[in-house]
Symmetry: C2
Subunit: 258 residues, 2 copies
């Protein structure tokens, strides 16, 4: 079998274009559309490199967020997900009806978003595309996306005017995530373009919550953006953490939840 197949590639290109606007295509329809047998489409998919994957007889675009990353429920992954989920459950306890929330980029806060459907009315401010997509699906949540130039690495946007745009909004609670939390070196993330929006949100918000799992403690990442006592609340997932976080005399004590 040859790895390069002119017509096969052409067929897949056609199918990719068909699927690009979203949706799924049954194998039988794909075959009809290309005027070949189902078997040929199957062979195309298995011999060529393509962005299409076959899911129970239907073709779907593999790069679509909801599809490919087939959630393989191995033991570790299940517990890892549970941890992320519990962390967000704790953060959820701080959210109240009518809040205007700043939601940071990253994957930490994503499990929180579907939970927001239980409220009657909320507003979410974000500069992350994945957050926006999750919130856009919620009819009860107003979404404000701060745009700019897109950075694929963090699925977020950057713009000169972002800080001033954030400051003009009446943000109630800022939920900030981080890639590193160190007592001495402060709180840091990977990408420098995230610093401005994080700092602006911290500066404006009435309540500042740092949401990080315990694996981030003692870690330092390239982009410093805040000190620990810039936050009113630290939401984390480990018993040991409180000692690290006892404030010396802040308005609100650092809160840690197991």
């Amino acid at each position: 079998m040859s790895t390069i197949n002119g017509r096969g590639a052409l067929r897949l290109a056609k199918l990719e274009e068909t699927l690009a606007s979203g949706g799924t295509l049954h194998l039988r329809d794909a075959a009809e559309l290309c005027g070949v047998s189902e078997m040929t489409i199957r062979r195309d998919l298995s011999t060529q490199t393509t962005a299409i994957s076959l899911l129970g007889g239907r073709l779907v675009m593999a790069n679509y967020p909801g599809v490919t990353p087939i959630y393989d429920l191995t033991e570790q992954q299940a517990s890892h997900y549970q941890a992320k989920y519990r962390l967000c459950q704790r953060a959820l306890a701080f959210i109240e009806e009518g809040d205007t929330l700043f939601i940071d980029c990253g994957s930490t806060l994503i499990p929180l978003l579907s939970q927001l459907s239980h409220f009657h009315e909320l507003t979410v401010v974000t500069y992350a595309l994945n957050v926006a997509n999750a919130v856009a699906a919620l009819p009860n949540v107003r979404l404000v996306l701060l745009g700019g130039l897109f950075y694929a690495a963090s699925q977020s946007f950057s713009s000169d005017s972002m800080a001033s745009a954030i400051e003009r909004l009446g943000i109630n609670k800022a939920l900030i995530s981080a890639a590193g939390v160190d007592l001495e070196r402060g709180i840091s993330c990977f990408h420098f373009h995230e610093v401005a929006p994080k700092q602006a949100a911290i500066a404006t918000a009435m309540q500042r919550l740092l949401v990080v799992d315990a694996s981030k403690f003692g870690v330092v990442r390239p982009a410093y953006f805040a000190a620990l006592d810039d936050f009113d609340v630290v939401v984390t997932d480990e018993e040991g953490a409180p000692q690290l976080l006892v404030g010396d005399g802040r308005d609100l004590p650092a809160v840690t939840v197991t």
Copy 2:
């Protein structure tokens, strides 16, 4: 069988939360996760109303763009898609390497976006979430999303500063879609918040392309945003259209493609 099932709803909520961050879950894993049999999950899915759908033994979020709108390839739909696709192929002919494109909201221009992967370097400016998602997947295209308050009806954003933000960008070509094109009443769309960005793009762009299928001719929609001769090129899909569009003395003649 009762339609309301407390535990069933709870299980589905749990599964929805699991899937909210993307990915798929095999029926067997979902059953294990909930501590019930596969059959119970099946029953939950068929008796309760849920955003989850079952695709070849795997659970996926139905509201994810790539998944639900199961592209049913009936005769008409196939030809309808072909029409949309051909329209975009024609628009594609106007795009050149290095362009900075303004891409309007709506579904008309979506099939164009996957085609942009054939270029080496492009920049896309948009105020629509669905456009942004399609472009975010392309590594060779820079994405500038103009943010603001989200309108679900048009999957797009609105903000006071949008017009000025557009005018600050060096937009090469503006690809504008419309819901109505009438010789006397001009070009119109459904939503008033789309008017400002469309007009700003038309005002700034070096070349202005109106991309509409012939079904929009002779139609008037609530929000007027431009006259026909504000455009340099009209890309459409019907023979009959040219007569409607012959300009009287413009820089570039109105171009119509069959």
